[in-house]
Symmetry: C2
Subunit: 159 residues, 2 copies
């Protein structure tokens, strides 16, 4: 298999841009993620491929909860903040205010929609990401959200 063709073809998969947060006791994890999709209607499940060396993965594996935030089409700069290691201080994570949600995981109120989840299952794939199956327990959504997609940004994650 030609590596360049494989990379080019895999980059044709279409994805959104999300911020995934979690907390385990006093440690926080938050990261911009894109390998996410719904995985079932009944019960409502989401699947997310999450880097196993990330803070957010460690937190959700311990606490069994996470929040997936939709990023709006004009909020690329907020997503960029979560490319960096998690730094929680004074009610903010990487400079973004957060609040308590229904689970242990923090909610970022500046993002226009979010899905609170319990971790249903973590599938170790022998790859560089684990497949996390999340069960939706709560959702919130403001009107007039146009979600940011990877294709709208200068970023590439795939290949």
């Amino acid at each position: 298999m030609d590596a360049q063709t494989r990379r080019k073809t895999l980059r044709l998969l279409s994805n959104g841009v999300y911020v995934l947060t979690s907390r385990s006791e006093d440690r926080y994890g938050a990261a911009t993620v894109t390998w996410v999709s719904q995985a079932s209607f009944k019960p409502p499940l989401i699947m997310a491929a999450v880097r196993t060396d990330s803070n957010v993965f460690k937190c959700l594996a311990e606490s069994r909860s996470a929040v997936l935030h939709i990023v709006g089409d004009r909020q690329q700069e907020i997503a960029r903040r979560f490319f960096f290691p998690t730094h929680a201080v004074c009610g903010t994570i990487n400079g973004e205010a957060f609040m308590e949600g229904r689970t242990a995981a923090p909610v970022l109120p500046n993002l226009p929609a979010y899905i609170e989840c319990q971790v249903e299952r973590i599938v170790d794939t022998d790859g560089d990401h684990a497949v996390v199956i999340l069960r939706v327990v709560e959702a919130e959504c403001r009107d007039q959200v146009r979600p940011l997609t990877m294709a709208d940004t200068p970023w590439v994650y795939g290949g």
Copy 2:
């Protein structure tokens, strides 16, 4: 949890439009799918949530191979053909020509890019779709592909 809000929020997840094919001996399966994402760089893995009552699921579970096709932005009508039960006859599936690929699964040459895969693992989630982890074994891509996304179409699949 309010069901309407949950549905509205889950529909903010961004997805592409793909045709997934498989074959088990003389039975074929092909379906338009959207709940798909990459799941690892090394090894290159894809995750796809596939309805467990579909022909394509039965075929890939048996043969352990599948092909994920990218649909181009002007090929909505081809994707629509695979909303219907699989009907393979005279070298066509649901009216689309197919050819042999590297695995048992058929390749649709009218679609501009495709990824041939072996089934790495099938995760039974207790939902209405199984999460299928696919390992990329071959990929092909024409130049100048603009992939069709669900947001480009009048269709909704999520919520």
